[in-house]
Point group: C2
DNA sequence: TTGTGTATATTCACTGGTCGGTATACTTTC
DNA sequence: GAAAGTATACCGACCAGTGAATATACACAA
């Protein structure tokens, strides 16, 4: 699948993605990206105006795959909407156990570029998180949570980004599971009760 | 209060704190810190082994004040424990509206140094967050949440760090208030019901 | 088919400046 | 005089970004 040999530009972005995600934005030099992509720095600057431009391209490229991963985890989980959202957190907990996992590239970049609120990379991060929140909202609206869908989706985003951040710092993926339980509880509270179903 | 002219070392750490928090760790050079502290770089290296050492000192210095701020906000809020925890989030929402607010220095440093798990600055961050979580646990244990105190405290940490992160990215402090509502709900669910008190 | 013009893509070599860290010597304080 | 603290000047490595020349590809005319 996905034939077509990657363009030079794509190879640059994908080399940048690996290095930026692994080591951080400012820790990676343009020279390092060029070398990893197997081209010269001058060629990189032919395809991108600046390092900032490259950073933005790196995050924009992660938008769709990241969201699709969440949707995939959701669709594969069993149960009602609360269980399925919890399933996303559980899958994330597994992902976080991979030794090369380093949290969320969008959030880490926002942290590193906190001093540049208008930076295109940060705008890409905002757009991505909004798409995830909108997707959560859709999912919840289709599940009878009344008019709470948007507010609930915001709570899920808070738990999700909180978990990504906490686990990155503490290196304890069990926080991801705690977040999943909290998410399920909050959703269940807004769900119409099928008879006597209570907690747990 | 707090008389005693600050030592050279203190002035260095406090200059570093301002710059590191404002612009990020890697974006700030040792030269910049030395200049801000009004000393030469050689003097800085007399007091600190390395830049990494200085970073760790910056975060260690923030541990107590940060926790004390949370405790202060909590103690000033009215109502039961759920309301008071919510008060912390509301106060934080106000703080986040300050133009120079840049999120949580511990989390931002963890994001920037994600590739160095053993870094002393990250250890300082883990220790700080553990102290906050332990304090939450104490507060909840004193409030009859049964054996849920630790788990609830972890959920509060997730919401707190989530809010700090989301608001840093999105620049929308209302997420802090959403987190506060979620926190209050989660606590209320574990609280013994005083007769008929419901939500809201 | 061959030659040529043009836009795209790439390379090598380089710039001015900054980085973390240091060698050495001077000054202050006890 | 000894120890602690500070200053000047410097190091080699690396940084983001650039100038000028070159290579490749394809369009179109002879």
């Amino acid at each position: 699948m996905s034939g077509a040999i990657p363009s030079t530009r794509d190879r640059i972005v994908s080399a940048a993605a690996k290095l930026f995600y692994r080591e951080g934005i400012r820790a990676v030099s343009v020279d390092a990206v060029a070398e990893k992509a197997g081209i010269t720095k001058r060629t990189l600057y032919y395809h991108f105006e600046s390092k900032d431009d490259l950073i933005a391209a790196y995050l924009s490229m992660r938008d769709n795959p990241n969201l699709a991963q969440f949707q995939n985890w959701f669709s594969k989980a069993e149960g009602d909407v609360a269980d399925k959202v919890q399933g996303v957190f559980l899958a994330l907990a597994q992902a976080a156990r991979h030794p090369r996992w380093k949290g969320c590239g969008f959030l880490r970049t926002a942290a590193e570029l906190a001093n540049m609120p208008g930076h295109p990379a940060i705008k890409a991060g905002v757009a991505h998180k909004k798409r995830v929140e909108d997707w959560f909202t859709d999912v919840l609206e289709n599940a009878d949570v009344g008019d709470q869908a948007r507010q609930l989706a915001r709570q899920l985003i808070l738990l999700l980004d909180g978990a990504l951040t906490v686990v990155l710092l503490q290196r304890d993926p069990s926080y991801m599971e705690t977040a999943g339980q909290a998410a399920r509880l909050l959703i269940r509270m807004s769900l119409p009760k099928p008879e006597d179903r209570c907690l747990s």
